[in-house]
């Protein structure tokens, strides 16, 4: 699960001045022709840097994203939900593994990336800094946060870096099952008992703004990303992704008799675009910078997990171990 490409650094143009202009031209021509760039191919340093940043943020989002839903595995109501949620959260951890491997092909080790996550140096999707108070919050994530992630990831899967695109293809295939599972859960709540309907509506009310944030700041406020678009690192703008999401899912939410806490939300028949109240972007910045309701808790859980697993990783590397034959 991962939101908009909203955390790019502003590319500094002088970073490109040191590149060999002939190689840079060949590289850009290849991308223009729709070819994929592979790990051992020549690439500008800036391309490598931005991709590591993006894939790493995505991987962190998967592993941190496993926490708010994972906490409901032990409370999921009934066998069907319990087994599905276990499988779903396991998928997310599997996505992290795929993505760390894809980022490693660019030269940064998984250990370095996890260190940077824990130290707060690298970021993850902001939405996971909000708490899941009820089962309905967990269902909201499974359906609508995953839906938002699919919009973003399907776009990125057409990007230029081979290992990332291939990972995204596999991830999107799995996410489409998460979406079905999440939708099924939400339908049951939205059409269930008064208590269930109330629980679901409250979840929508709580999560709508973080979900609007999820796609990143509006294009007019976003950093200059032309180079990233040209290099097919960034495949759709934040507003394009947000519009696509609204177009696909607002009718589905309304269809269930649920309301969305934005009186200005409507589709403009002339432009074909959705109009909405801008979410509070100051709140978005504040949370990204570490001051959200769960930032400290999420990182603390990750830090403790790393510390508790340290002896296992050390033992895996121990040369005196007698048993080194791989399983298969």
């Amino acid at each position: 699960m991962y939101g908009g490409g909203n955390l790019f650094e502003t590319p500094k143009l002088d970073e490109l001045r040191n590149e060999d202009p002939i190689k840079l031209k060949e590289f850009e021509d290849r991308i223009e022709r729709g070819e994929k760039i592979e790990p051992n191919d020549w690439m500008p340093a800036l391309y490598r840097k931005q991709l590591i940043r993006m894939i790493e943020q995505h991987a962190h989002s998967e592993i941190i994203g496993a926490l708010p839903e994972g906490t409901w595995i032990t409370r999921a109501p009934g066998f069907k939900r319990k087994m599905s949620l276990m499988a779903k959260v396991q998928d997310e951890v599997g996505h992290a593994q795929l993505l760390y491997s894809a980022a490693e092909t660019l030269g940064k080790s998984r250990e370095q990336m996890i260190d940077d996550l824990i130290s707060g140096k690298s970021k993850y999707s902001n939405i996971f800094n909000y708490p899941t108070f009820t089962w309905a919050d967990c269902c909201f994530i499974s359906w609508l946060v995953d839906a938002g992630a699919i919009v973003n990831q399907t776009a990125n899967a057409r990007g230029s870096y081979g290992p990332y695109c291939r990972a995204l293809d596999r991830i999107c295939a799995e996410e489409s099952f998460h979406l079905k599972y999440g939708h099924h859960c939400v339908i049951h709540l939205a059409t269930g008992t008064p208590k269930q309907r109330k629980m679901m509506q409250e979840a929508i009310d709580r999560w709508w703004e973080p979900l609007m944030h999820f796609f990143g700041p509006p294009d007019k406020l976003s950093v200059h990303t032309e180079t990233l678009v040209k290099w097919k690192v960034k495949m759709a703008t934040n507003d394009e992704n947000r519009q696509q999401f609204l177009d696909m899912y607002v009718p589905k939410i309304w269809e269930l008799g649920l309301t969305i806490p934005d009186p200005n939300l409507k589709k403009n028949a002339e432009t074909g675009l959705w109009e909405y109240t801008e979410p509070d972007w100051a709140e978005f910045k504040r949370v990204i910078n570490g001051d959200g309701p769960c930032n400290k808790e999420r990182l603390a859980v990750r830090r403790v997990a790393e510390e508790r697993g340290e002896w296992v990783r050390q033992a895996m590397l121990a040369p005196q171990s007698k048993y080194v034959v791989p399983l298969a």
Binding site: A76, M86, V89, V93, Q97, R308, M316
Partner: protein, 251 residues
């Protein structure tokens, strides 16, 4: 066929699988390495699936539906061994429990493939194929960590010493051992335990770990008769938190 004996057997298997699966799922998202996080979570899913299969057989024998049976009983109505309800502890304890429990489970399923009660033998045949991989996983890790560093060996040994009395509780005999054996439903806990000791000893011999003297170890029993540690009821309260919040609802 003796239905009371049969149900007693089915309940203990189903409850063991449900509770160990629930416990192991607590590792999801916080495993020592990603690959292991994924593996533990996958095996936990299998266990919950296994319990579901056995609860379905119980349902066919007239018990409530699987969700009601699994999610709405109290601790004293559970027949799982105490071993599976203990908290996950550190990874060393969870790994040792996985190793000790899953070997017993594998042998139990092998024995049940010949059960005269066909629904059990069919399930056992199917599940044996899954547990085979759980055993391979457990053996690889026990051999690896049981020979790697001083810390890993010490941790595993300490957990093994703590786990063994509870592991012996897996084989607590039921009131119906004789009926089950006579009717060729299940050959019995004593036969299972003997094979289990052989199997785990074979693996432990390949490590620096010492199996405690089992003749001097008192088994922690009671689970099969509804007597549990202080850890089971809170686990069940958590498991049923949502489903009990509106018992009339479909989730």
């Amino acid at each position: 066929m003796n239905n009371i004996a049969l149900k007693d057997l089915l309940y203990k298997i189903a409850d063991d699988q449900l509770i160990i699966g629930h416990r192991n799922s607590e590792w999801t998202g916080i495993g020592p390495i990603l690959e292991e996080d994924i593996a533990f979570s996958s095996m936990a899913q299998d266990k919950i699936g296994h319990s579901y299969a056995f609860f379905n057989v119980l349902h066919e024998l007239g018990e409530s539906d699987p969700d009601t049976t699994a999610f709405l009983r109290n601790a004293e109505q559970f027949h799982n061994c105490q071993f599976v309800e203990l908290p996950i502890g550190e990874y060393d304890f969870s790994l040792v429990r996985h190793f000790l429990f899953d070997h017993s489970e594998m042998i139990r399923f092998e024995m049940l493939t010949n059960s005269s009660f066909e629904p059990i033998s069919l399930i056992a045949r199917k599940l044996k194929g899954e547990v085979k991989y759980h055993i391979m996983h457990a053996n690889v890790w026990i051999k690896k960590l049981g020979t790697a560093t001083n810390e890993s060996i010490e941790r595993l040994q300490k957990s093994l010493d703590e786990a063994i009395p509870f592991a012996l509780g897996i084989f607590e005999e039921s009131k119906y051992e004789e009926e089950l054996a006579n009717e060729k439903i299940f050959p019995g806990e004593i036969a299972l335990k003997e094979r289990w000791i052989e199997q785990i000893s074979d693996v432990l011999k390949q490590t620096e770990l010492q199996l405690p003297d089992l003749s001097l170890t008192e088994a922690r029993t009671g689970g099969r008769y509804g007597r549990h540690t202080e850890y089971l009821q809170p686990l069940l309260d958590e498991m049923s938190e949502v489903i009990k919040s509106d018992p009339t609802a479909e989730w």
